[in-house]
Symmetry: D2
Subunit: 394 residues, 4 copies
């Protein structure tokens, strides 16, 4: 077992950990640990909410969650000798749940506190607890399904430069300014409330907390990409923007459907990742990787061979309004079609919504040029159900 | 070999075929042929442009294409006894190119005549010709790649009801009216120019041509979904809106990348499909399949195990403007990132663009809730290249 | 469609074809056609029995089959410039049934005329006819199963040198001499009865017919390997023993289970193969490929994800005698275990036997060193059945 | 993490463990632990040799290994309420190496002490040490390869009845008696030397040690099947021969090639397995599972898409003698052909031998009826090599 470089105690909040992590992006958050290219090490992570959600049947903790607290991250990890312009190569050698915490949660956020992809259809908080049975998971709240996990860090990224951080904050503020009072909000702007910034203290804390970008969106540094295929055995090529790269990670999922549509989210869990790092000097220019990380998925994803696939197009389901090649709406319609079908199989809408958010469903942009309709699809592996859900000829 | 119920002569335009097909959606286009549930039969199809593109190195035919002519479809096929409210079950038993036409084309449309996903980056017409070698294809215009096809009909659908047709025409007109002079246009509205309507003549022709919906977008009836996974061995469940369902199909692709990003399109070809039809009486209600077809993919898709995956987020590449969970922009950025990388491997931007449109790349909606950025990915199977394109550690 | 270089007329026996093929291995059978490295061409093939089996429900043609006639092959194909010591590279670009012959057969040979893997259990002739539905097949004689084909030539090989032919004849005669009267026989020795040798006539015919090796076993030249994974898109590297290599092929199967246990065999059919040839000069020495061909399988094999796997060990089922690491017996026991299970699902033993011989079951040598038992397994994809055959907990 | 019901201390031999396991099969070895149907629990296992092999470069420990000591097993586990005639359902929920022992070994046994599949070609002891990097492994002794593990218990089985044990001992003795002095021996007969029998003492120990079957071969009870696909997520259906079934397991492999050809063996390791058990009352009769276990493989096996496949036939490589449908010889010839090829890629014969024994190569019985040659194949995934090993056209 590689040496654990970042440990977590699940009974304590992130700021009280022996070495605290952080929940904002900022180049001035000091490294929690440093490693060399070639090193292999283990990183432990708390769940993204910092332990706010309990293993019970009451969704009030989902409803009342403090979203200023998310995502609590492990890091930053300084990789010695790595410079802006390099590519940081990160191998996710293996991942798992912590031994005494082999369960995870999924939830539907309340429309007034977080929302989600289908918040206008399912505005009230709900929760499903998922128990892990080795490689499999099942939920007492969604009967009749069992599937192998495809464990991944929902969030892994490097620190932005000061210049990049400024760009982020400006462009996101400009978006929020188009509709400042919207619920749910259009973006999560910097906010010192519940900020955790490693061991930074005093005025420096206040400055960084005021400037630090929230961790919710994926950005040029990777971050909260929520890519389910970034699983065991993956290799990621990160562009590097600051000395040492300053890698951080968290928000582990035991499983997730493409889109992470309920926002809360995949099957959220605490856990560990074994990491190997290398560097490609000058790799950003050499491979033209400037804007976002590039990755190779691992070779042990669960294998399915039979799917039921639902399509959606860019027409708003409430108004019937035609939108222009809008893949967001098309995917929403595909998911709603899938939920309608799952309701004929005995699930409630909320159960089906949480199932699409947690099971290894595949969300595709199938056609993006056939004006005015994008065509998106969501593919559900039929083998995750206890019984045959396919429409019968007779 | 099942009996061919719809034949095409590639030397003649669609209206001169022995039994002509059609290129508009309208419930009053009479059936070209009728079949019974349980029947197996072969349908031949012209390429979507009705033969306007030649197997040569000159892209002027792409540039000057008459887009009023698309998509020439084979059908409608009336399935006896099928009624609105039923599900029409369509098995795509097998597909192939026509024996004397074992090639296909891909192109970039001119910004002034068609455009495409990246038309602001690649506004000028280009063309690539793809030769078929059994299950494989390669192009003299894009060296160093060879891949197995995943043949599928870009377009397959049933006829709309009159009421549904009215809805389509109204909602699409409302969209066009928001920016009527836009180039490329926002949607393709009904237009009698170059309409082909089977054997309909005279005033009836004029009426249908005036009312008939264009075939470009996918809609509730299926239609031009351009789903690459609708390949050999797939089973589709169509909601039925008119007596006999009136199934039509065309726009065959030897291969296509998710999104069909160049718009012209996949590897476009003429070909044949062997079809088996069944009916599930009252299936729309029973399975809650009202809005779009549902399908099961076939079991013989090409198998890859190694991918290079590029990410993109909802920030406009020209202005840096932040958009709200815009999966269209996120997928565009992912594709542009992939093209940037492919340019470091010796391809021109146009070649890379056409490659993403034709090769079996997977386009995913990975995260759709992490405000304000959607995260979309495009996964390129590295095994389609003659040499190892992965970034090297040394 | 590539040019057809070898055509067959299914209404005529092989010797009456316009250009007849052959059914013996001998270096002096003249080439039927010649090609150049780089060429692509089509070869048509009769079924392995030369049309002795009819599409009906009567197994008497299986019982009475003339096995001196097998396997009728298309070829030899002379590849210009290829010399002994080279590797002949053969790409199987695509394969299919002949348009008017979309069915195949499987049978159990009578113990007195052919036998098979389980002939002591199932000594009487039986037959199953399989209809092709595009990529799928099913049989009116084995209800409840449908599966995609994995089409392949059961037999493809190059001509032996005179020296190699002598070696074959000597070693096989020595085996037969150990038990000359055995039924079924231990090997099929040269026999002029029903020989077909292209256009060879007279004394030369008699000599070659007397010397020519039978085509039943696979040998150093490839030949009747019956490898189901040698399917669409495969590339084979053949060692070359005579000028021009003299490639021949036949015995096409729409599908086959590993082992081809019923001997007659897979789903036997007439059909066509599109071939591409290349040469690696001096490749035998360079890659140390002297004894048998080497190949890469194609990328479009049917995809399954759920199997039921049966084990067998090297203990004779009749006597209980322990054998030493005998993989033949171990595989037989695995197959018998599978048949026992399938009988609990409503199949007769003969149906189950033919099903294992035709469906894409995988036969593995799992352990070959654990004295004294080999452990072999046969894996049945459960998805080929209409219903769930897996043992139920309740 | 499920409760650990059987713990091991790697610093102590099996008989000194707190609760010792056993290394013989006998119904009278008392249960080490008991569980109920429905229970989930963890079992720890020592490596099969009981810790005789060290992580160093000296193969003398392989050469001098005490084979009377193998296989040290964890168990027996008594499953309450399970009776002869039932099926014991065992789910392998997850498996892994022990945290402080993340390495394994493979070796070639000396011809005088163990031997192996190719002992006549490679008669001297050799060793390769494999380090685990998360899901991957590589060896300092076999450069240029890295692959994901497919962890499995080489040995898992239930206790035989007294009657079954007698049958085993008689049939194996009869085999040995055919050539009593053979080296390597034909079978491993009961032998009290180095026996470990849980807490059994005194005269009872002597009796059981004298009668107990050795664990080397797979038999009706499962046992040392060495099936690499019995990996994470598998479900096994065991026939039950004694009250409580008395399940035992050990001989964990991080990876293994089909056949485990070097005999020592796969990548041998100590580790843990998480188990879930259920029972199907009367299941042996209901599903006709009497002779050997049946299983379903798990869904997360490593995924490869490109293989190089080598064939072999039933002709002895030393004498040229023709054997009758001998799959053992055919697989040996396939492996020797693969080794010949790998030697052209820079490996020594011993390295190639150990590579085939450890990497996830697939061994198939392709044809078993084409008298007199069986055709076996060994498929090597080309993606495990650092560079492209496929023969080049130029």
């Amino acid at each position: 077992m590689p040496k654990t470089l970042f440990k977590v105690d699940l009974t304590k909040p992130m700021e009280e950990q022996e070495v605290p992590g952080h929940n904002r992006w900022h180049p001035d958050i000091p490294a929690a640990v440093s490693v060399n290219p070639g090193d292999v090490f283990r990183i432990e992570c708390k769940d993204w909410t910092d332990g706010q959600i309990s293993n019970n049947d009451d969704p009030s903790d989902i409803r009342d969650v403090n979203l200023h607290r998310v995502h609590v991250l492990s890091g930053p990890i300084h990789v010695n000798g790595v410079k802006p312009g390099d590519l940081l190569v990160v191998d996710l050698l293996d991942m798992g749940a912590l031994p005494d915490s082999e369960w995870g949660f999924n939830g539907i956020f309340d429309r007034q506190n977080g929302g989600g992809f289908l918040t206008n259809h399912y505005p009230e908080a709900a929760k499903s607890i998922w128990d892990f049975h080795g490689i499999y998971t099942s939920s007492r709240h969604i009967p009749g399904v069992k599937f192998p996990g495809i464990i991944h860090p929902g969030l892994i990224g490097v620190a932005p430069s000061h210049e990049m951080l400024d760009t982020w904050n400006q462009r996101e503020k400009a978006l929020v300014d188009t509709d400042p009072g919207r619920v749910p909000e259009l973006a999560t702007l910097p906010n010192p409330h519940s900020a955790v910034l490693g061991n930074v203290k005093g005025a420096e804390f206040d400055r960084i907390a005021r400037e630090g970008a929230r961790t919710v969106p994926p950005r040029e540094n990777g971050g909260n990409c929520d890519i389910k295929n970034l699983s065991k055995g993956s290799r990621i090529y990160f562009p590097v923007f600051v000395d040492g790269a300053k890698l951080s990670m968290g928000d582990l999922h035991f499983s997730q459907g493409d889109g992470e549509i309920s926002f809360c989210g995949g099957i959220e869990m605490a856990g560990w990742i074994d990491i190997h790092v290398e560097v490609i000097k000058g790799g950003m220019e050499k491979y033209s990787i400037f804007n976002n990380p590039v990755f190779k998925p691992g070779p042990v994803e669960p294998r399915f061979s039979d799917y039921l696939i639902f399509e959606g197009i860019s027409v708003d389901e409430f108004t019937g309004k035609q939108h222009y090649l809008d893949a967001h709406i098309a995917y929403r319609r595909a998911c709603l079609n899938a939920i309608d079908f799952l309701k004929t199989q005995g699930y409630s809408g909320e159960q089906a919504y949480m199932l699409l958010s947690t099971a290894p469903v595949e969300g595709r942009i199938s056609g993006i040029v056939d004006i005015p309709n994008a065509c998106c699809t969501v593919a559900i592996p039929t083998e995750i159900f206890d019984y045959d859900i396919r429409p019968k000829l007779i």
